[in-house]
């Protein structure tokens, strides 16, 4: 007690102040990194708005089958290349489906594609129960086969979101761990690991992709039994390409961090390597990771479009934003500009990615260790 009194005296503090400070410190400590971040994220209106927007987007995409949209895949040739106009429509592929009983899988296969998941089939049946044959018209125009652009954008978001998630997951799981480990270990191990990345960087991915895709083609039945189909492989390939840069970036950041005072201090007091990694380094690289992630996702979507363009991506009649946008640019010519084929997919892509970036910025600020406990 006496020493405490002395300390207070020396610091020139009154006792009630000290009590208040201690309580504050306790409160500060009691708030976890995440709940603190969440609190600050909510305070950031732009970031929070973006988050809400993305959630709505995600839900729309996930529940696409339940929405009264025209088929994204079945051609409707008489309606081709119509400019956007406001009207309501009637589903012609549901025309012969009796509404008083569940739509059968065969009818779904005609309107969409084979191997629709059971959950999606359930959603489609629900849709028919809710909306009957009633559906939206060509609000965003139609494409060259008369398919509704809006419907294709909504369905296309499913592919694009999946691709983005797969790439993000690979970047995070492999890239961050690999890069952080390499940077932290330093010396020979670091050297070796980075040279490995260099090698993988340089191997022409396009041959790897063609090779894997044709392999899939040859052993289709066998591979499908173990759940490997073209789409899965496609996601794996994208992930495999996109963790490399992340590893480099993280490693660079770790390298610069690990010579900083607070890490050295931790090392001096004898903290273990994993502890240094997860308690000190990771929170500090987080900001760069999030930035890079928000940069990776658009790149991945374009990469997907590019692979589809080469015939190595998703199989039609499925769609993705990337393919929609690149098909749209094909339609640019001085005679007649089919602007709706370019503008709407671009808006969809740009708005989602913009929200993602703004959220990324918000997250970065919210997670910044230097900002903890402040506002």
């Amino acid at each position: 007690m006496g020493t405490e009194q002395n300390t207070l005296e020396r610091l020139g503090l009154k006792e009630e102040d000290a009590v208040r400070l201690l309580a504050e410190a306790k409160a500060y400590k009691g708030e976890s990194l995440w709940s603190d971040a969440w609190r600050r994220l909510r305070a950031n209106k732009v970031a929070y708005g973006s988050l809400v927007f993305l959630i709505i987007f995600g839900l729309t995409s996930f529940f696409a089958p339940i929405l009264p949209l025209p088929s994204p895949s079945a051609p409707n040739l008489p309606n081709q290349l119509q400019p956007p106009h406001l009207e309501w429509g009637n589903s012609d592929y549901l025309a012969e489906v009796p509404l008083d009983q569940p739509v059968d899988a065969a009818a779904i296969a005609v309107a969409y594609w084979e191997k629709m998941g059971t959950f999606d089939q359930f959603l489609i049946r629900t849709r028919v129960k809710l909306f009957g044959r009633w559906q939206t018209g060509a609000w965003m125009g139609t494409d060259a086969l008369g398919r509704d652009v809006m419907s294709r954008i909504v369905w296309g978001s499913r592919t694009s979101i999946l691709v983005a998630l797969a790439a993000a997951a690979c970047s995070l799981l492999i890239g961050v761990v690999y890069g952080a480990f390499s940077g932290l270990m330093g010396g020979r191990i670091d050297n070796f690991m980075m040279r490995l990345v260099d090698i993988m960087y340089s191997i022409p991915f396009i041959f790897v992709v063609i090779f894997l895709i044709t392999l899939i083609g040859d052993y289709k039945q066998e591979l499908e039994k173990v759940g490997l189909n073209r789409e899965t492989v496609f996601f794996l390939v994208i992930g495999a390409v996109y963790w490399l840069t992340m590893a480099r970036v993280v490693r660079g950041q770790v390298l610069s961090l690990k010579n900083k005072e607070f890490v050295e201090a931790a090392r001096v007091v004898g903290a273990s390597t994993p502890r240094i990694l997860f308690a000190h380094i990771v929170p500090n690289v987080l900001s760069i990771v999030i930035i890079y992630l928000t940069l990776t996702i658009p790149a991945v979507m374009l990469f997907e479009a590019f692979l589809s363009f080469l015939g190595l991506g998703i199989e039609p009649p499925k769609v993705s934003w990337g393919t929609l946008a690149s098909d749209g640019t094909e339609a640019i010519n001085p005679l007649r500009i089919f602007w709706w084929l370019v503008v709407f997919p671009s808006i969809a892509m740009a708005s989602a990615l913009l929200a993602l970036n703004l959220l990324g910025d918000g997250l970065r600020d919210a997670l910044d260790p230097k900002m903890r406990g402040k506002d």
Binding site: R195, D198, P204, I291, L295, M301, L310, T329, L354, N357
Partner: protein, 329 residues
């Protein structure tokens, strides 16, 4: 520094060899060959063509012949001609990448010599756009964090990243070619030909650089030595240029390596849209044509480019941040 560079050189050799051999075997294992066509060939004719290009040899032998100055053809290495009936070249180790299988009137060296300067020029234009737009936008938005300027810059930068460059190219073509006929729609040869593709190619990188600069600057601005510098009473401009920018550009520098390589080897998409005869298109076309020699040539070239650029980046890193030592790299 010298031992560091020597070590790098050694690794460089190893990397090149591994990349070359993996790529070689991979591309030969991929289905389809350079001479497959809609019109299938008579088996005898096909055999003649394969013999001409040594494609009838076992792979390891083709690889050895491709890599080195070895004489594996029992009919003699240099005595080519219709009598000998094979296309000859001296091997990659002597700097000869061989004849292209698709563009048969050119060697791979010819093709690279024709297309690399074009891509490099396009890359320079693009990189200038990117650095000028990116760094200034990044600094401005970091210094006025949260202001309207910051928000606008960030929105613009995000749009630059979020919109695929072929979409931007599309909009620009509509605007500056069809509506206001300022630039040609495609082709190569004059300054006008360069502006639109350079801008489209640079914009994505500019956006990246702006974001990286902003983040880096924010990080550095909050650090103690900057506060000290401010406290010392240094002019804000000096603090920013001398201290903050140095640390703040670190992430940009590490990004410049891959970015320059990406820009230099051109962007396939941009080259395609504007029909620019650069290197970018060869990366994909050589693969889809199964032009083995050209594909190997551009792969090796790409490796060299990326590797040297990364080495330069690592060097620049230590110069910019004295706490990182070369020994650690």
């Amino acid at each position: 520094m010298i031992p560091f560079l020597l070590r790098r050189l050694l690794w460089f050799g190893i990397t090149l060899f591994v990349v070359a051999s993996v790529s070689f075997f991979l591309m030969h294992k991929v289905k389809g060959g350079p001479f497959d066509n809609e019109r299938a060939l008579d088996p005898a004719i096909e055999a003649n063509i394969k013999a001409r290009y040594h494609l009838d040899w076992p792979l390891y032998k083709q690889f050895a012949q491709y890599m080195g100055p070895f004489n594996l053809d029992e009919r003699g290495l240099f005595g080519s001609g219709p009598e000998k009936g094979t296309v000859q070249f001296t091997g990659v180790l002597t700097g000869d990448f061989g004849p292209s299988f698709r563009y048969r009137d050119f060697t791979v060296n010819d093709i690279i010599a024709q297309s690399l300067p074009i891509s490099a020029l396009l890359g320079v234009v693009a990189m200038m756009w990117a650095l000028a737009l990116g760094i200034s936008a990044g600094i401005a938005s970091a210094l006025r964090r949260g202001s309207g300027l910051d928000l606008t810059m960030r929105l613009a930068a995000t749009a630059g990243i979020a919109l695929p460059n072929f979409v931007i190219a599309g909009f620009l073509v509509i605007l500056f070619v069809f509506l206001i006929p300022l630039f040609p729609v495609a082709g190569w040869g004059s300054i006008q030909h360069m502006m639109l593709p350079g801008f489209c190619l640079g914009l994505g990188f500019a956006a990246y650089i702006a974001r990286l600069t902003r983040t880096g600057m924010l990080e550095t601005l909050s650090q103690d030595h900057i506060r000290t510098a401010h406290a010392k009473g240094l002019a804000p401009g000096t603090v920013i240029m001398r201290h903050a920018l140095k640390g703040g550009l670190l992430p940009v520098v590490s990004y410049l390596g891959p970015a320059t390589a990406g820009v230099l080897t051109g962007s396939l998409v941009i080259e395609r849209i504007f029909n620019i005869p650069g290197m970018g298109s060869h990366f994909v076309n050589s693969a889809t044509n199964r032009d083995y020699t050209l594909a190997m040539g551009v792969t090796i070239l790409y490796t060299v480019l990326v590797y040297s650029l990364n080495t330069i980046v690592d060097l620049a890193y230590t110069l910019l941040d004295p706490r990182i030592s070369l020994e650690e790299q």
